[in-house]
Amino acid sequence: MFETVILMMDATVRVSTPLLLACLAGLFSERSGVVDIGLEGKMLGAAFGAGAVAYVTANAWLGLLAGISVSVALALIHGFASISNRGNQIVSGVAINFLAAGLTALLGQTWFRQGGRTPSLPEGGRFTDLTWPFAEQLREVPVVGPLYSELLSGHKILVYVAFLAVPLTWWILFRTRFGLRLRAVGENPAAVDTAGISVAWMRYRAVIACGILCGFAGSYLSIAVGSGFGVNMTAGQGFMALAALIFAKWKPLNAMFTCLLFGFLDAAGTRMQGVELPVIGEVPLQVFQALPYVLTVVLLAGFIGKAIPPKAAGVPYLKERS
């Protein structure tokens, strides 16, 4: 039983990682007042970029760099449309999702001729598990052993990046000048403008941060857990991250717990497949897959507190003509 719990938790951490990275990405963007429905597209683009470059160079780090670059480029397109040109942020985000979905499959097919997938990664093209010191030796120690060697040790480096990004995000947001201005620009951009700070530049920096984190999330899928890019491999995780962001009320620590919860539901769903429960029988996988969204809707309906988004989120900033 204990081992099952450990395995479940281990799976939860693995599944939560891309969600958490994307969720924090969205947090930076939306806290600055730029609604980002294009998390999904950026992840997908990053996954493809990372998969393709890691295959060609046989270097996971170059793959990661490529993934981040693609994602940041898409983020800048979103920024150009919604910050510089004050376009509708939802429309721009949706466009980026379509663009990424179509372009990755098209380029994948053109370049590699495997139905849009990138070929299986060679040695070195994929991130390997990091084994912590003494993990093997401690494995047999009761309780502490499995916790240490299964749950803490033995993940890809990006998993640790994701979880370290949580306190880092909190610190940036609430302890630095950049964070203060970022939060301010998402609440009242006019206050930031009159304080002599460029609203556009603040928001661009936020979407770039968002792009970088989405780059990590996408790359994790194709060159850390996966071994190569597959068509539409993000499968809605960007939207799930968006739901998590709302559920977490735009707060970093909440984001981590929410993503762990959503990840756990996913892991549980996989585990419960084919398991006959007493009375109810087998619970379909789809129930677990739908739960995060159901929970978010319940939250939005006001049953679990109130989720108040940054006040200026989604509103392009335009200097008023007196």
């Binding site: 302890r175 206050a191 304080a195 700070i197 200097k319 007196s322």
Partner: protein, 517 residues
């Protein structure tokens, strides 16, 4: 005059498309003085100040700060030159603390901790020096507007502003808060700071400024020493012709009540009681004014009586009927059928559809009237005819019923709404903020119409945050504070007394508070 002026503007010009907002503006602001700039809405005051604060760029002209010609590229540059601004709509982040708002944009370093603790000490010092007390850890959203404004002033002082621009600072303040603000401005002056006060209220100019400049239609028309001028002269300069500042009216001759409200209580969507057990009546042939600082339940009261908002409990006697407002399902159209007209507080949000033509707006709410229909269709001809008559009668300009109401000035938009409601011959007219954003000339006209309506034997319920307006028009004044009617006064109520009531000083405490004044 050997002293170098704090600010000097030479031949400033600024256009927005076809609108020439500032034409060849010259202005000299003496160091250590309070300089008022007065003008009607749209006269170009705010544009001029925004240019000085680097928010806009002048198309032409020079700005001199302390005698040196400067280019103010953005707000940051203005701040660096010692120019601070308190905006009409506060530039504060609501869910930040006072401290965070003060340091925003002036944080010292990339880490916040140092800047915050320096700001804390500095705020304490400013507090003592200028008597600007405010809790540095309070969230802005929890502070009353008077204190929020203080935070704005502190923000400017924290950035070592030598010149402080205040744009319509008293719009949201009670008379007592406004007096306190003026005291602060005088302290600032004594400390050698220069204050630029933008306002359209003549009384404020007379009360606090040393020098006053008048703007009209984008031009600077005059500059006067305040002690050598008068309200009448300034009003004339603002409008370009002589205006009547007082409303001519005879004492009211009220008859039987046309509307009686009893024990009205209204709860808003947050579950907060916004109108608390309010009872009053309006008689035929009188104007009942409801005074109060904005946000004390007047808006909700108007909305409930006009059928837009639901009450929790209360009764309304109107047109010989007694309506239980707690259970009634009467909507705005039903109330209109009971001969109640309503000029809503916010003409843009509730009074007009600005993308519609004038003639369409002239029947909004009365579009079901058989006079305007031909079977299933609207009788456009009849509607336009009525609209043209109203345009003539109310001197609405431009006199074109086909024009979208968005193209009319604030004063003319308000006249369109007023004409629509008055011309339907209501027994009782509810009016909210009849002259908000309306120029002096139109104010005079609107006030006259309201008095005429009263003289023709109708009841008027007037809600306004402008105390002068309430006092000029009302035959009886009710003061609302925190959802309750806290006092009633006759036609000649003292301003100071009303001010105290508006600030929540209850009648019973009045003698004490009055003695302390």
């Amino acid at each position: 005059m050997s002293e170098v002026p704090a600010i000097e503007l030479r031949q400033i010009n600024k256009s927005f498309g076809p609108v020439h907002a500032n034409k060849d503006i010259d202005l000299v602001v003496k160091k250590g003085s309070i300089h008022g700039i007065i003008g009607e809405n749209g006269a170009g005051k705010s544009t001029l100040m925004s240019i000085l604060y680097g928010f806009y760029h002048a198309d032409k002209g020079d700005i001199l700060v302390d005698g040196t010609k400067v280019t103010i590229a953005d707000s940051k540059a203005a701040i660096a030159m010692g120019i601070g601004m308190v905006h009409q709509h506060f530039m504060l982040v609501d869910n930040f603390s006072v401290l965070e708002n003060v340091v925003l944009g002036a944080e010292d370093s990339a880490m916040l901790a140092g800047g915050l603790s320096r700001a804390r000490n500095e705020l304490k010092r400013l507090e003592d020096e200028y008597e600007l007390r405010v809790d540095p850890d309070a969230l802005i959203q929890d502070l009353p507007v008077g204190l929020q404004q203080r935070v704005e002033i502190l923000k400017a002082l924290y950035r070592s502003a030598e010149v402080l621009i205040l744009d319509e600072p008293t719009g949201v303040l009670t008379p007592a808060e406004a007096d306190h603000l003026f005291k602060i401005l005088n302290v600032l002056k004594d400390e050698g700071k220069t204050v630029l006060l933008i306002t359209h209220k003549l009384r404020e100019i007379m009360a606090v400024t040393d020098t006053v400049s008048v703007m009209r239609r984008g031009e600077m028309v005059a500059t006067r020493e305040t002690r050598n001028t008068s309200m009448e002269e300034l009003a004339e300069l603002m409008v370009g012709r002589s205006v009547l500042l007082r409303v001519d009216k005879t004492p009211a001759d009220p008859a039987a009540p046309v509307m009686e409200v009893e024990n009205l209580t209204v709860t808003d969507s947050r579950g907060v009681q916004v109108v608390k057990d309010v009872s009053f009546s309006v008689r035929a042939g009188e104007i009942v004014g409801i005074a109060g600082v904005s946000g004390n339940g007047q808006s909700e009261l108007l909305e409930t009586l006009s059928g837009i908002r639901r009450a929790t409990t209360g009764t309304l006697k109107i047109a010989g009927e007694t309506i239980d407002l707690g259970t009634s399902t009467l909507d705005a159209a039903d109330m209109r059928d009971k001969n109640m007209g309503h000029v809503p507080e916010d003409r843009h949000r509730m009074g007009l559809i600005n993308s519609f033509a004038e003639y369409e707006n002239s029947i909004l709410g009365y579009h079901r009237d058989p006079a305007y229909s031909k079977g299933l269709l609207m009788d456009i001809g009849a509607i336009k005819k009525a609209a043209v008559e109203e345009i003539e009668k109310y001197d609405i300009r431009p006199p074109n019923p086909m024009l979208k109401t968005a193209s009319f000035s604030g004063g003319n938009q308000q006249k369109i709404v007023l004409a629509r409601e008055i011309e339907r011959d209501p027994e009782i007219l509810l009016i909210g903020q009849p002259t908000r954003g309306v120029d002096i000339g139109a104010i005079e006209f609107i006030h006259r119409r309201i008095v005429e309506l009263r003289d023709s034997g109708k009841g008027v319920l007037l809600v306004s945050v402008e105390l002068d307006e309430i006092r000029a028009l009302s035959d009886r004044v009710l003061v609302m504070f925190d959802g309750k009617i806290v006092g009633e006064r006759g036609a000649n109520a003292e301003e100071g007394e009303l001010g105290l009531l508006m600030a929540g000083v209850e009648d019973s405490q009045m003698s004490v508070a009055g003695g302390a004044q």
